[in-house]
């Protein structure tokens, strides 16, 4: 072993860290033969002893009053309401305010989307009455509980792991033998809200079940509608009453929103 090689292992030797037995043996042999490296090892061992001595003299620990204060804080913090949403920060006001702002921004964004949808829907009605074109990237929903239909559809779609904006929900509804609800005649709907999104789908993507947005609209009043692919801030999930991982609040998430004829969002599913 050379002096340079010895220098590379001298710390491990002096600190009694695990090193290969053969390396250790060669290093110690080198130290016996080289007075310079022997002195170096002696220095390092003295330092290790001094650090250990300094550490052993510090028997200090946090004062007892801290434990008392923390236990009080624990009791206050771990209330049933807080336990229901433990990932959400509760004490840091700047973070709380920023979350509120993000939620408000998301709500505004959603409202804008819905307004735009309604306007487009009105325009498409006029166009379709004059020029009923070929198949469009729109979907028709039968007259039944929209949310439950959507759940059935997405259940199948999830199993197939292939969902597109052009998916037709009608076949899935036909397969549902349990429903006796009368089916409305099929009709073409307006062009898709964001046609460019129709090409964005990937066979590898997976989706969640549709979650009814009952706070926004009554899902049972829906006769037909459209699924619209949107990309929105994760923070907006809070506004819809969905759980949010606070660490990823700044990221965006893709979602399919079921929009009724009246332009109101009825259900949402997340796309991954």
């Amino acid at each position: 072993m050379t002096c340079e090689e010895f220098e590379r292992v001298v710390t491990d030797l002096a600190c009694e860290f695990l090193i290969e037995a053969a390396t250790r043996k060669r290093a110690l042999a080198h130290a016996r033969a080289c007075s310079r490296c022997a002195a170096r090892l002696q220095q390092e061992r003295a330092l290790t002893a001094a650090l250990g001595e300094a550490a052993s003299r510090e028997r200090t620990q946090a004062p007892a009053r801290m434990k008392t204060a923390l236990l009080v804080a624990f009791q206050q913090q771990m209330t049933p309401a807080n336990l229901a949403a433990p990932l959400v920060s509760r004490n840091e006001s700047p973070r709380r305010w920023s979350r509120y702002l993000m939620a408000a921004a998301a709500a505004l964004m959603l409202a804008a989307i819905l307004l735009a949808l309604q306007i487009l829907h009105q325009q498409s009605k006029v166009e379709s009455s004059t020029n009923p074109g070929p198949a469009m990237a729109a979907q028709e929903l039968p007259s039944k509980d929209a949310a439950s239909q959507m759940n059935g559809v997405t259940g199948q779609a999830s199993r197939e792991s292939s969902v597109t904006n052009k998916e037709n929900v009608q076949p899935a509804a036909r397969n549902d033998k349990t429903t006796n609800a009368p089916r409305l005649p099929r009709r073409r709907l307006r062009p898709v809200f964001r046609p460019e999104l129709a090409n964005r789908t990937s066979p590898a993507e997976t989706v969640t079940e549709f979650i009814p947005l009952t706070a926004i609209a009554d899902a049972t009043a829906m006769h037909s509608g459209t699924i619209v692919r949107v990309e929105m801030p994760r923070a907006s999930l809070i506004a819809m009453g969905l759980p949010l991982n606070a660490e990823r609040a700044r990221e965006t998430v893709k979602a399919d929103i079921v929009v009724g004829d009246d332009g109101l969002a009825r259900a949402i599913r997340l796309v991954y």
Partner: protein, 207 residues
Amino acid sequence: MRESLATINDETLLRLMMTGDAEAFAELYDRRQSGVYRFALRMSGSHAIAEDVTQDVFMALMRDGNLYDSLRGSVAAYLYGIARNRVLKRLARDRAFVSLSDEATDEGVAGDARLIVQADPLAELARNETIEAVRQAILALPAHYREVVVLCNMQEMNYEQAAAIIGCPVGTVRSRLHRARAMLINKLRAMGEAESTVRITAKRCAL
């Protein structure tokens, strides 16, 4: 209840704690507070900062304990990681400590002639003086060197454990420790020489 809690691991205690079990929190606190407190104290040299950091660590654990991921390390490493971040932020804010120059930290130590001395630098200092000198020398290290000395040589962690807390490769910890110790030796040798000079001068004055 206390006896049964004493036998279960940190991860289970954390899980119990996050369900609102105050005794689990107390057990976890008793088990880990001293290590966290000493780490903060050794990094900062200040009992006030050590207290603040320790309190912050356990408050953060209450608030964000569900973010703990066992795949990324032990609960102790998680706590030390929080403590480290808090201490570094505090030090950056206070800027109360003197660092060695960057020039010195970038120098290679293998061929540093200053390290090759026959005399033991620590031998020049009396026992109590040695302890105080070591503390001062550690506090004079830049934070990224100081933390590896504290973790590996004072908190008795191995390279892997220190690397998990710091969030860097094991090789980085190893090389930082090597350099940090070389800097400590230089520092202590300088202190020892200064002490010798003071003693000799005092002797001459007495004669």
